[in-house]
C-alpha cells in the first residue's frame, strides 16, 4: 500500500506536470508543493492549535482533579454534580487534544492512557475491590482514564442519589473514592508531562519541516488521519454495528454513561477540521488546505481536492448533527441514521488517507493488520 501511494504520487505529479504545460505559467505542481511554507504551517499549528489545546485540556483536568478531591473530602449531591460537570468539560476538551499523538504525547501514550473505551466494568470493580491498581499494565487501559471515570461518576447507580451512595454508604465507598482520585491524578500527571515537554519540543517540531516519515508534517498527517479513523470507527461505526454484520453494539459508544457521545463526536470532527484548516482562535492560518491548494491537488475527477475535503467535512458534520444523545439509544431506535453518518465519515477517510497523502507525498505509516 505504501508503495502504491508512491506510485500514485509519481503518476499524479507526472500528470500535473503534463497539464501545466498547457498554461504559459511554467510552475509545476511538484515545485509549487515543495515551495510551500511548511515551517509556517508547523509554526501556526503548534503555537495556535496544539499548545492551546493541551493547556486547555490540562486546565480542565486540574479542575476535575480538584473537584474530585473536594468531593472525596465530604461527598454530597452538589459536589457530585460539580465533579460530573468538570468531567464533561474535560472529556469535551479531550476531543481537541487526542489528534497530536507524536513527540511528547506518543512517549507517554497519552491517547490510550486517557481514552480507552468501552471501559471494562469488571476490571474497574476488581481494581476498586483490590484497593490498588497498576496504571502501567496494558490490561488496565480499559479500567482507567476518562471512560473509567465515565462509569464511576455516571454509571454506578440509576440516578445521582444511588451514585452518591456508592461513595458514602457502600461497603467499597472509601476504596472507590481512592480509585477515582488515583485516576484523575494519573490524567493530570500525563498531561503535565506532555505540556512540559512541548515547551522544548516545539522547536524540534517546527524544524523537522521535510515530508519524510519522521518529519512533523508526516507525523501530523498520520495522526490526523489515525485520530479521524478512531472517530469514524469507534465513536460511530463499531457501536452502529458496521464491524459486526449490522448487529448494533450501543454499549460501545464513547461516554456511554454520561450520555454525551454525539456532542463529543461533533467536537471531535470540528477539532480535526480546524487542524486541517489551520484554524484557531487567532484566525485562519496556514493549514493542510493551503498546502493542498498550493500543490494544485485534484481529486480523481479533476476537481479541487481541498474543495472536496471541505465539502465532505461539512457533509459528515451535518450527518452527525442529525444524531441525538444518548447515542446508544439513537442506535437502538434509528440505526440507519447512525450508519448513514458512518458512510459520510467513510467518504472523508478516502480523501484524507489516500488522496491527501498521495498529493503531498506523505506515507501512512500505521498499518492495517494482516487479519491473522
Amino acid at each position: 500500500m505504501r508503495k502504491l501511494i508512491y506510485l500514485a504520487l509519481v503518476a499524479a505529479s507526472t500528470f500535473a506536470l503534463v497539464q501545466s504545460c498547457k498554461k504559459s505559467n511554467t510552475d509545476d505542481s511538484t515545485k509549487a508543493a515543495s515551495s510551500f511554507d511548511r515551517k509556517g504551517l508547523l509554526t501556526n499549528v503548534s503555537a495556535n492549535i496544539i499548545i492551546p489545546a493541551y493547556t486547555a485540556y490540562q486546565t480542565s483536568v486540574v479542575n476535575l482533579d480538584a473537584a474530585i478531591i473536594a468531593f472525596n473530602a465530604a461527598p454530597d449531591a452538589a459536589k457530585l454534580a460539580t465533579v460530573q460537570t468538570t468531567f464533561k468539560t474535560a472529556y469535551l476538551q479531550w476531543q481537541s487534544t487526542s489528534e497530536f499523538e507524536f513527540g511528547p504525547a506518543a512517549s507517554v501514550s497519552l491517547r490510550v492512557n486517557t481514552n480507552t473505551y468501552p471501559a471494562s466494568v469488571d476490571q474497574i470493580n476488581a481494581n476498586v475491590a483490590a484497593g490498588t491498581y497498576n496504571p502501567s499494565l496494558l490490561a488496565n487501559l480499559a479500567a482507567k482514564g476518562l471512560p473509567a471515570l465515565d462509569y464511576l461518576l455516571f454509571g454506578t447507580g440509576a440516578d445521582n442519589t444511588a451514585i452518591l451512595a456508592m461513595y458514602t454508604t457502600d461497603v467499597n465507598a472509601a476504596k472507590r473514592k481512592t480509585y477515582i482520585a488515583a485516576l484523575s491524578t494519573e490524567l493530570k500527571t500525563n498531561i503535565n508531562t506532555v505540556v512540559t515537554a512541548w515547551a522544548s519540543y516545539k522547536a524540534t517540531f517546527i524544524s523537522a519541516d521535510g515530508t519524510d516519515v519522521a518529519s512533523s508534517i508526516g507525523q501530523l498527517i498520520n495522526q490526523l488521519v489515525y485520530d479521524y479513523e478512531i472517530l469514524k470507527n469507534f465513536e460511530i461505526g463499531v457501536p452502529a454495528g458496521v464491524q459486526s454484520q449490522g448487529a448494533a453494539l450501543p454499549q460501545k459508544v464513547q461516554a456511554y454513561y454520561s450520555k454525551i457521545s454525539v456532542q463529543l463526536a461533533i467536537a471531535h470532527i470540528q477539532a480535526i477540521q480546524n487542524l486541517y484548516l489551520g484554524k484557531s482562535s487567532v484566525g485562519d492560518g496556514l493549514g493542510l488546505d493551503d498546502y493542498l491548494v498550493q500543490a494544485n491537488a485534484k481529486s480523481s475527477n479533476g476537481t479541487s481536492l481541498n474543495d472536496n475535503i471541505k465539502a465532505q467535512f461539512a457533509a459528515a458534520l451535518a450527518k452527525l448533527q442529525t444524531l441525538s444523545d444518548p447515542l446508544s439509544t439513537n442506535i437502538t431506535t434509528n440505526q440507519t441514521a447512525v450508519t448513514s453518518a458512518y458512510t459520510e465519515l467513510q467518504k472523508l477517510t478516502v480523501m484524507l488517507k489516500t488522496d491527501m497523502t498521495s498529493s503531498l507525498g506523505i506515507l501512512i505509516t500505521y498499518g492495517d493488520n494482516d487479519g491473522d
Binding site: M1, K3, Y6, L7, S109, P118, L138, S244, D370, D372
Partner: protein, 360 residues
C-alpha cells in the same frame, strides 16, 4: 502491487553480468558472461516438493485456526507432520511420498509436538479466555474475530505458525545455503544438477511466485511476511535479486557470485525473524487496549523471536536469545508499554533495525 515500482527498477538493474572483464594483474580471473533473468523462469527449475510442503504446512495452519470453535484433532495434526494415514485434504499431498517433519530443525521436531498439545488443550476448555483462564476470546471491536489463548495469554496457533516459519522454512534456507558448495554441480539428474535443484528448493521454500514481487499471488509464510515488513526492510528485492543471480551463477559455474548470493540470503533470513517480530510490535500497538487481540499479536511476536533459535546460521548468541525471551512477561496479560518498547528495542538493536523499528 506494493512493490511494482521497485520491481521495475529492479528489472532494469538486472542486466548481463560480466565479471572479470578487466585484467588487473597476473592472476587469471575466470571470465563469465551470462544473463540473469528478471523472473525465476529457469527452464530446468524444479521446486515442486517445496511447494507441496508449504501446502502441507498451510493445511496445518488451517486446522489450528479451528481451535477457536471447539476441540481440534491433535493426532491428525501430528499425522500431517509425518504425512501418515492420508491426513491432508489435498489428495496429492497424501501420495507425494514426502513429509514436513524430516525437514524440520531438530529442536523444532520436539517443540512443535508440545505446541500442538498446548493448543489442543486450550481448544477443549470451552471457556472464555481471560487472565489465567485458557479458552477462546473475542476482539473488542468485532466479536467474530476470535483467538484461542492459554491462561498466560499465548495463542499457540500462532506459535505453531511462526514456528513453522523458523523451524522449517528458515532452517531449510540456512541449511541449503550453508551447504550449497557441497552439492554436485556437474551431473545432470532430471534436467538439473544437484546444486541447481537445491537452490530451486530454497527459492521454493520462500513461498513466492516466479515473477515476484511484481506478482504477489499466493505468497505463503515468509513470502507473505517479506512484503509485510518491506516498508522498513526491503527483503522482497534483496531476496529475489539474490535468488535469481545465484541460480544463474550456478548454471554458469560462477562460484564466487554464488557464494556472494548465499551470504545475502543467509543474512536476509536471519534478519527476517527480527523484522517479523518488530512488525508484530506495531500490530500489538494497533490493538493495544484489546487484551485478547494484543495477546495474539504478542504470541506472533513470541513465535518469531522463539523461532530465531532454529536458524543454524543465526547471528544472535544463545545468551542473547535467552535474554530476548526473558523480556516477555511471564503472563502476556501483564504486559506494559515499557516492556513492549524494551522488547522492540532489544530485537531491533542486534539486527541494525533501530532506525526502522517503528516502520516494519
Amino acid at each position: 502491487m506494493k512493490k511494482t515500482l521497485c520491481a521495475l527498477s529492479f528489472a532494469a538493474a538486472v542486466l548481463v553480468i560480466t565479471a572479470g572483464c578487466k585484467k588487473n594483474n597476473d592472476t587469471t580471473e575466470p571470465t563469465f558472461n551470462y544473463d540473469v533473468p528478471a523472473t525465476y523462469n529457469f527452464s530446468n527449475a524444479n521446486f515442486a516438493d517445496a511447494t507441496t510442503r508449504l501446502g502441507m504446512a498451510t493445511e496445518i495452519g488451517n486446522l489450528t485456526k479451528l481451535a477457536t470453535s471447539g476441540p481440534i484433532d491433535g493426532p491428525k495434526i501430528k499425522a500431517m507432520l509425518t504425512n501418515t494415514g492420508a491426513p491432508f485434504t489435498t489428495a496429492v499431498y497424501n501420495t507425494s511420498g514426502i513429509q514436513l517433519n524430516d525437514q524440520f530443525a531438530p529442536a523444532f521436531k520436539t517443540d512443535v509436538l508440545k505446541f500442538i498439545d498446548s493448543l489442543v488443550a486450550v481448544s477443549a476448555t470451552g471457556k472464555v479466555a481471560s487472565r489465567n483462564v485458557a479458552g477462546v476470546g473475542s476482539a473488542t471491536a468485532n466479536a467474530a474475530t476470535k483467538y484461542a489463548l492459554t491462561g498466560l495469554g499465548l495463542n499457540y496457533a500462532q506459535v505453531i505458525n511462526k514456528g513453522l516459519m523458523g523451524g522449517f522454512v528458515t532452517y531449510q534456507e540456512a541449511t541449503i545455503m550453508g551447504n550449497i558448495a557441497s552439492y554436485d554441480n556437474n551431473t545432470v539428474v532430471n534436467g538439473s544438477t544437484a546444486m541447481e535443484h537445491a537452490w530451486d528448493m530454497a527459492f521454493g521454500y520462500w513461498g513466492v511466485p516466479i515473477d515476484f514481487p511484481t506478482n504477489k499471488t499466493g505468497v505463503k509464510f515468509w513470502g507473505s511476511y517479506t512484503s509485510q515488513v518491506d516498508a522498513g526492510y526491503h527483503a522482497n528485492t534483496i531476496l529475489m535479486n539474490a535468488f535469481l543471480k545465484g541460480r544463474a551463477a550456478i548454471s554458469a559455474k560462477d562460484t564466487k557470485t554464488v557464494a556472494a548470493q548465499v551470504a545475502i540470503i543467509l543474512d536476509a533470513f536471519d534478519k527476517l525473524g527480527a523484522a517479523g517480530a518488530l512488525q508484530e510490535v506495531q500490530e500489538a500497538k494497533a490493538d493495544i487496549s484489546d487484551n485478547i487481540v494484543r495477546n495474539s499479536r504478542m504470541s506472533e511476536m513470541y513465535g518469531f523471536v522463539y523461532g530465531i533459535k532454529y536458524n543454524p546460521k543465526r547471528t544472535l548468541t544463545d545468551a542473547q536469545h535467552t535474554n530476548l525471551l526473558s523480556l516477555f512477561p511471564a503472563n502476556l496479560y501483564d504486559l506494559t508499554l515499557t516492556q513492549l518498547n524494551a522488547l522492540r528495542d532489544a530485537v531491533a538493536a542486534p539486527y541494525g533495525f533501530d532506525a526502522v523499528k517503528d516502520l516494519l
